[in-house]
Structures are given as C-alpha cells and as structure tokens.
C-alpha cells in the first residue's frame, strides 16, 4: 500500500505547557501512515495547533446531520463554518445510539424520521466542500459504515472533504478494518478515551491515533453537565503523557467558558448537546458561535 510516511512533518506541538505532561514520560506517538502534509488527519491537527498558537482553545461544534431539519442543518453547517468553528463534527444518525444522552438520541431519531442516511449525508457534504473553511469529522456508530462498505465509505468520505471519523462503538481492539480503509485515504480515525481508560489502553490508541484525541470528560453519555469530577484532571494528565496529538475534551460541555477554573487546559473543546438544544429552541448557529466566542 503506497502510504506516505512523512517524518519531516514532525509537528511543533503548541499549547500544553510542560506541566501538563507527567514527569519523565515520553509520548510514543509516531506519525501514523497517512498523516502526510495534505492528509485530512494532519489538517485536523494543524487547525487545533493554529487556534492554540493564537491563544485559543480550539472550538469544535457537533451537529447531527439533518437536525433540526435537513434544510436547517445545511444552514447551521454553513453558519458554524462562517462563525469560526475550527473543526466541525457531523453526527451520522443511528437507530441505537448507546453512547448518547437524550438530546443526541432525539436528534438522531428525528433525522432518521426525516430520511437522513449516510449516502445522502456524504453527497450533501461533497456539494458544500469547496467553500468550507473548517475541516469535517464524521461521528457515527459502526453499523451504518459497515453496511455502506468500509472502503467505499472511506473513498466517498474523503471525496466529501471529511478529514476524520469518530466511531464511538469501535474500541481499538476492533478498529483494524476501518482504520486501514481510512488511512489509505489519509483520513484520521480519532480515538475516544475516557476518565476510566488505563494508561496501557491509551498507549494502544496512541500507536495508531491521528488527527486529535477525544477525551470523554464524564463516565456517562453525551449531554450537558454542570460539574466534572476530579478524575477528569487525572485522566487529562494521563492522556497528555501518552499522546503527542492535541487533546479535545467533550461530552458535557456547553461552551468554552466552562473550561475556566479547570485545573488543566485542553487543546480543543467539543460542544454538542448544548448546540442541538439551542438550534431546537429556534436559535441560529451563528448566534451560538457568537455566544461561544
């Protein structure tokens, strides 16, 4: 397989100060295949690093495709992009979303009822790809990708301007086939790790990770939270010592303001349920972006 291993592209990691990193440990990250200059994976990393270099935590909104309606989704996607989202995560609806709380479940249910499916999503994203500034990440459960055909999916996703994928029900033990298909296109398979992920398992992810790393901030499902446990800070320190890629925190955040007062500073924050709720209540994505700025 003609994979490009571009070692010269060794990133200058920005953001985390040395205190973020556990003493004496060395990240074992090597550039994964497909992280060459123009690959989707490297674009994701670079976007977060650019935000950090400008003194910001990168902002990653999540929106379920086809929600609140297919037309409003299209509009919201454009507004998130124009409003300065660093990366946009687009949710592929699934009938049985086990990692999601009530808001994302409801968004999925309604999107499916409106006839939204992976094929249509990829077509639509492909149409808008040219004018978009923010790179896209698709977040969805494994079965729709499997059903679509992993190699065909990887090709069509790359053509639609998708830079990375997050598959919440695909732990490192099972991710081989999808990762191989995505890597062949230079697309990142972004790991999801949690506050209960031990360091050895983090290392298993680190050997393969690309793009960025998603740290799930609560032992629970998606949905806004008012408080986070101390174990999040510990998990952050653990992850920082293992991964050289940027760390995004998500699950439970209503906006970047919630990071203030936290004993650590992630490189990116993902906001999902709060945005969906805002849109569902009639708010615009443009307003949401202004509020989060």
């Amino acid at each position: 397989m003609p994979l490009i291993l571009n070692q010269t592209e060794k990133r200058s990691r920005t953001a985390p100060s040395t205190t973020d990193r556990a003493e004496g440990s060395r990240p074992e990250q090597t550039s994964p295949p497909g992280s060459g200059q123009g690959s989707g994976a490297s674009v994701l990393t670079r976007r977060i690093e650019e935000a950090n270099a400008a003194g910001r935590v990168a902002f990653i909104p999540f929106i379920t495709a086809g929600f609140p309606t297919p037309a409003k989704f299209r509009e919201a996607l454009r507004e998130l992009d124009e409003g300065g989202a660093d990366i946009i995560e687009v949710g592929v609806p699934f009938s049985d979303p086990v990692a999601d709380g009530p808001m994302v479940q409801e968004a999925s249910r309604r999107a499916l009822a409106a006839g939204v499916g992976l094929r249509g999503i990829l077509e639509e994203l492909a149409e808008g790809a040219a004018g978009r500034k923010a790179p896209l990440v698709l977040m969805g459960y494994y079965n729709p990708f499997l059903r679509y055909g992993l190699e065909r999916f990887a090709r069509d996703a790359a053509a639609a301007g998708v830079s990375g994928c997050i598959v919440p029900d695909l732990p490192v033990d099972e991710d081989g086939p999808l990762r191989a298909a995505l890597e062949a296109q230079g697309t990142a398979l972004i790991p999801l790790v949690g506050v209960n992920t031990p360091v050895e398992r983090m290392r298993a992810y680190a050997r393969r990770a690309a793009g960025y790393v998603y740290l799930v901030s609560v032992l629970g499902v998606t949905g806004e939270r008012s408080a986070f446990a101390d174990e999040l800070a510990e998990a952050f320190t653990r992850a920082r010592s293992v991964f050289s890629l940027p760390l995004a925190v998500g699950f439970g955040f209503s906006g970047p303001a919630q990071l203030e007062g936290m004993p650590f500073r992630p490189q990116a924050v993902v906001v999902g349920s709060a945005l969906l709720r805002f849109l569902d209540a009639g708010g615009s994505a443009a307003d949401f972006m202004r509020r989060c700025a």
């Binding site: 699934f94 494994y142 949690g194």
Partner: protein, 408 residues
C-alpha cells in the same frame, strides 16, 4: 481464533468507556468461574433454590400421535418459570465475588428481569431493571413480580420502547455506574464475554439432557429443538452436543420467530431473514435496512421479539452444525394449545415456537426416534396474549363446544 469470536462473528463493539468493566468481567470469568468453591456454591443454589435438575418429560399422547418419542426438557419448572435463572444466579454470584453491589438488567417479556430480581434478592444485591415502556404495559404482571422482589423497574421511553432499547439504556446506565454495578445480560449475545459466559451458565440444560436421555432410552436423542431469541436456552441446550464428538449425529434445530408471517411485516428471524452487522456490542446476524439502521422486530412472544441474535448461533448457522427454521405466530399459538390439552402443560409462547416446528414437521422426523424440545419456560405470563389471540381456548369447556358447533 480471535478472542471473543466464533468464526467471524462476535467481538466487542462497545464504547471505550465500557472496555474496563468488560475486561474486568472477562478476567473474573477466567479466575472465578472455574473455582471449586464457586462451583459448589452455584450448584447448591441451582439445586436447593432454583429446583435443578429439571425433569425430562416424555409426552405420551403427542408421541403416539406423532410416531416418535417426544421429550420435553422442563425448564418451565425452574423457579421463576424459565431457564433465565440458570444465568442470573451464576452472574449474581460472580458479581458478588467481584465486589459489585448492584445488578442491572434489561428485559423484554420480563422473565429475565424477574430472574435477575430473584437472584439479587437471594444474594442481597440491589437490582435495576430496564424495560421498554411498551413491554411494561404488555407484561404488567412481571413488572409487579420484579417490584415484589425488590427491584427498581425503569420504563424506557426511547427508540421503539422495546427490548433493544432497554438494552441500550442498560448499557448507558452501566457506563455511568460501572464501579458498583454488574450488568447481568440476559441472553447469549452482546459484547464479549457475555455470549460465552451466558452459554456456559446455561449449558447445564444440555448437560442434564444428555445424561437423562442416556438413562431414559440408552442413547443420545436423534433431534434436539430449541427456540432462539437472543439464543441462551438454545446455546445452553446445543453447546454440550456441539462440543461432544459422540454427538455429531444429533440433529440440532433452532427455531426463530417469524411474526405474523405476512409479507412486508416485521419478524424476529435474523438468521433466516437478516444480514450481518453490529448491534449491542456484537457482529452477528441482524434485521437492518439498506442504510444499516436496525429494524423493529415483531413476534407474538415478547421473549423472541429481538432484531439480533447471539454470534455463536450465526456461526453454527454458517457452518451448518445447527439448522435454523422460522415458525410464525399462528403455528406457535396452535402448538401452545395442543400441549395444554394433550399433556397438561402450559408452555411459554417462546418455547411453543420450538414445539410448533416439531408438530409441523413431524412427518420428516425419524419414526420411532427420540426428539427433545427445550421447554424454556411456562406460559403463565402469556395469559393476556392468549386471551387476546385465542379467546375460544379460554372459554368454559361447554361454551367452547357450543361455539364450535355453531361454527360448523
């Protein structure tokens, strides 16, 4: 073979957040299950509390009519009314050894919920049962039994409000409560190690059957039949035969629920009518649309009403070691009535599917041979459904005769 796989089926497709408790459970299966003291305690509970061993009953009337010896493996006589307790007692004891104080469970018909609630009460654990809102209405008596046994029943209002959504909600609960909670999964499906764990705990059904057959007629049976929902009573019945080289000639038949059988209607028969995919942590056969969305299932028996099936059955199906057939609602209801009247046994509608296949295919079964049906549960829970579908059966005998005459 890769860990947790049966051929290409199985695996562990769950959020990373669930990997630590699943790995902990896998370790416990290796360390605790074979332990002698554990075995002795579980054995004591199965005998002294659950009522093992269950009889192998010859059906004299049906045998005469069918032309072969029909035996029933009487899991309906197990405490709480179904084979489910074999599994929940084992998992509850395992959970206790693992230091967990809470058992979580999903339930469809309510049989696994009741069996989990009973095991929890017996061992002094708390119990939370997730049940689709739709099912809490259809199976109100079992909701009450669970509550009497001290369990908290949480109705699930998401998705199709049935078993598959109850599993989703139980998995979500387990993510958040994994430190104190063991998820007592109810069938031989789901992420590794559940398919193996549940099969092993249910294998007592098949082990006993082999011994009982040898003492009843001095040989292994010709045919063994079990209904397949997620596949636990069938796995427990079949596995000891599959694993035994001396049982290679024993024909094994798993029966899926075909629903109404009308074209275009939902079924619960993923092995016969589905395609491979990932649901609830496993790669197996399932009912899905062209986009990979899971389809609703349907069966008159709530316990078979599930769009997926355990991965080992997908493998047995693929290798051909076990044959799988479809029985529709009307055939199961008919078999239910016939067993009531012929043998004085009220079977669960789930088990009636297995019996129905034998009745419908009697001519193709070996004359003078020995056929065993796994009677996985009793029908007490199904009275409302029977009254709805077969009102005649529930009339006083005289009135029923009169009706029958009027119909002529």
């Amino acid at each position: 073979m890769k860990k947790g796989y049966f051929g290409e089926f199985g695996g562990c497709f769950v959020p990373e957040l669930l990997m630590p408790p699943l790995l902990e459970l896998e370790q416990a299966c290796t360390d605790i299950l074979p332990d002698k003291a554990f075995r002795t305690e579980l054995d004591g509970l199965l005998r002294g509390y659950a009522g093992r061993e269950t009889p192998l009953t010859l059906c004299p009337t049906l045998s005469r009519e069918l032309g072969f010896n029909l035996y029933l493996k009487r899991e309906d006589l197990l405490h709480t009314g179904a084979h489910k307790l074999n599994n929940t007692l084992g998992q509850a004891l395992l959970a206790e050894r693992m230091g967990k104080s809470v058992l979580a469970a999903e339930t469809g018909a309510g049989q696994h919920g009741v069996a989990t609630a009973a095991a929890a009460a017996r061992l002094g654990l708390s119990c939370v049962v997730f049940m689709g809102e739709e099912d809490t209405r259809r199976q109100a008596a079992n909701v009450m039994r669970m509550r009497l046994l001290g369990a908290e029943v949480r109705p699930v209002a998401s998705g199709t409000r049935t078993l598959k959504d109850a599993i989703n909600e139980a998995l979500r609960f387990w993510i958040a409560e994994q430190r104190t909670t063991h998820y007592c999964f109810g069938t031989a499906a789901g992420p590794h190690p559940f398919p193996t764990l549940v099969r092993d705990l249910q294998s007592v059904i098949g082990e006993e059957t082999k011994v009982q057959c040898r003492s009843a007629f001095g040989a292994l049976p010709d045919v063994v039949v079990a209904c397949v929902g997620g596949g636990s009573n069938a796995a427990g019945m079949f596995y000891p035969f599959v694993a035994d080289p001396e049982a290679d000639a024993v024909r094994l038949a798993g029966i899926e629920a075909g629903g109404t059988g009308e074209p275009g209607c939902y079924t619960s028969a993923p092995l016969n009518l589905g395609s491979p995919g990932v649901l609830h942590g496993q790669y197996s056969m399932l009912l899905q649309d062209a986009d990979g969305q899971i389809l609703p299932s349907h069966s008159v028996s709530a316990g078979l009403d599930y769009p997926g099936v355990g991965p080992e059955h997908a493998w047995f199906h693929k290798t051909g070691r076990v044959e799988y057939h479809v029985v529709v609602d009307a055939e199961a209801l008919h078999a239910f009535a016939r067993l009531c009247r012929s043998e004085g046994i009220i079977p669960a509608l789930e088990s009636s599917h297995a019996l129905a296949w034998v009745l419908e295919n009697a001519e193709a079964l070996p004359a003078g041979g020995n056929v065993v049906v796994s009677l996985s549960g009793r029908g007490d829970k199904d009275m409302d459904i029977i009254r709805e579908h077969m009102p005649d059966l529930c009339l006083p005998a005289r009135a029923a005769e009169k009706e029958a005459v009027q119909c002529l």
